[in-house]
Symmetry: C2
Subunit: 210 residues, 2 copies
DNA sequence: TTGTTATATGACACCCTGTCATATATAATT
DNA sequence: AATTATATATGACAGGGTGTCATATAACAA
């Protein structure tokens, strides 16, 4: 997180810096983000930057608060709308990610975020951990278990991990430019179908089991 | 791939260089690998290195041929042994990855490979694409479809993608040091169980459907 | 012996990051 | 008002990296 000094910054200076930061994070993937470029565009001296942020990662963390907040709100809304249907929720998460990544504002940034993120950087682990605890605390107990073929918490946790992993991978594929939004969505639904056949207690292929 | 010049190198020089390279790739994750360090250890001038390799990635690609070859052989063997049981095959792949990553020889290297790899670097995409085509060409038609609840090639492809994704993620977790080998294996088997309930045509929870 | 092609070499230009001693405000206290 | 603390600003500097290129040298062919 940025230093106290950063938060005390006069609005004008703060905004100029943030604009430069967003520009740089949209220009190139994270690993290539250059503090030099940022300070050059923001017209602040090198020393100042390091007075505000510990390093690049610190900046990323700060920017991501937006993204995370938006995502959380969206999830909240989705889970209400679909009354605890985890599959509908995951589809919404994918949709929102695609949507956000196609937006003029954060598009390039989100795209770089997904495509350049290291599988296992310290940051990524934290991000996943945070998302997970967010998710578990807020939503896990609101999932409708009635329709699921799940007998204990351990199984539920496993199921969620599978779903999150597949959803994430699907988003990555989209941002890698391997497929367009529609193909990605279609493929995702097909995969959900496959998974459902196991996850759902009531399966249409076996009416006698109801 | 390395240049012709590299392959013409006298054995002694070649080996010294390769030893330096492996040492460096074991020291730090790929993103931190330093050509400087390599040439220093191998005692060759900077210019020579660039006579042999285009860049770091070029080196990685070359090293990986070993890994890929070993994996291919292992898969080949496994698919014979288990007579097309895709789940047993995936378990074997995970086991082999864990095993290789725990070995004295390539351990550190494999560990770094998994933990630092960018989700979507050009290299990674190629790697996955190659693995996939290897996989599909060689093994896809040897999978025993009789036990699977799969009706067409498209579904089969989706199923495989899910399995590969989950297996990969599991390996990443292991290499991130989040869990030890046994926990990882146990969790993986639990997940396979969940997936099987859907993938398998004959399910133990529903004897009447056989 | 001379011309040709393959290989070797390290100085160079250019990029980057994080730190630190020093300078300058701003606020607090006598 | 003068002095002392405290917060912020600054850019030169040390140390690390990459890829290239003109030039030197070796190997081979005519």
């Amino acid at each position: 997180m940025p230093t106290k000094t950063f938060f005390n910054l006069p609005e004008e200076k703060h905004d100029k810096l943030m604009r430069a930061i967003k520009q740089e994070f949209s220009r190139v993937p994270f690993s290539q983000v250059s503090v030099n470029k940022i300070i050059q565009v923001a017209q602040i001296p090198r020393g100042s930057f390091y007075q505000y942020f510990k390093n690049k990662t610190d900046v990323l963390e700060y920017i991501l608060r937006d993204y995370r907040a938006q995502m959380r709100a969206r999830i909240q809304q989705s889970i209400e709308t679909h009354r605890g249907d985890i599959f509908a929720l995951m589809s919404d998460i994918l949709d929102f990610t695609i949507e956000l990544g196609s937006s003029r504002d954060m598009g390039a940034f989100i795209k770089h975020l997904f495509s350049d993120m290291k599988v296992n950087s310290g940051f990524y682990i934290d991000f996943v951990r945070n998302s997970k605890s967010d998710f578990q605390e807020t939503f896990m107990n609101r999932i409708d278990l009635e329709i699921l073929n799940i007998s204990d918490t351990r199984e539920l946790k496993n199921m969620l991990e599978i779903l999150v992993t597949i959803t994430q991978r699907t988003a990555v594929r989209f941002f890698a430019g391997m497929y367009d939004a529609d193909s990605v969505r279609r493929q995702y639904q097909e995969k959900l179908m496959l998974l459902k056949r196991g996850f759902l207690k009531e399966r249409n292929i076996c009416a006698c089991c109801k």
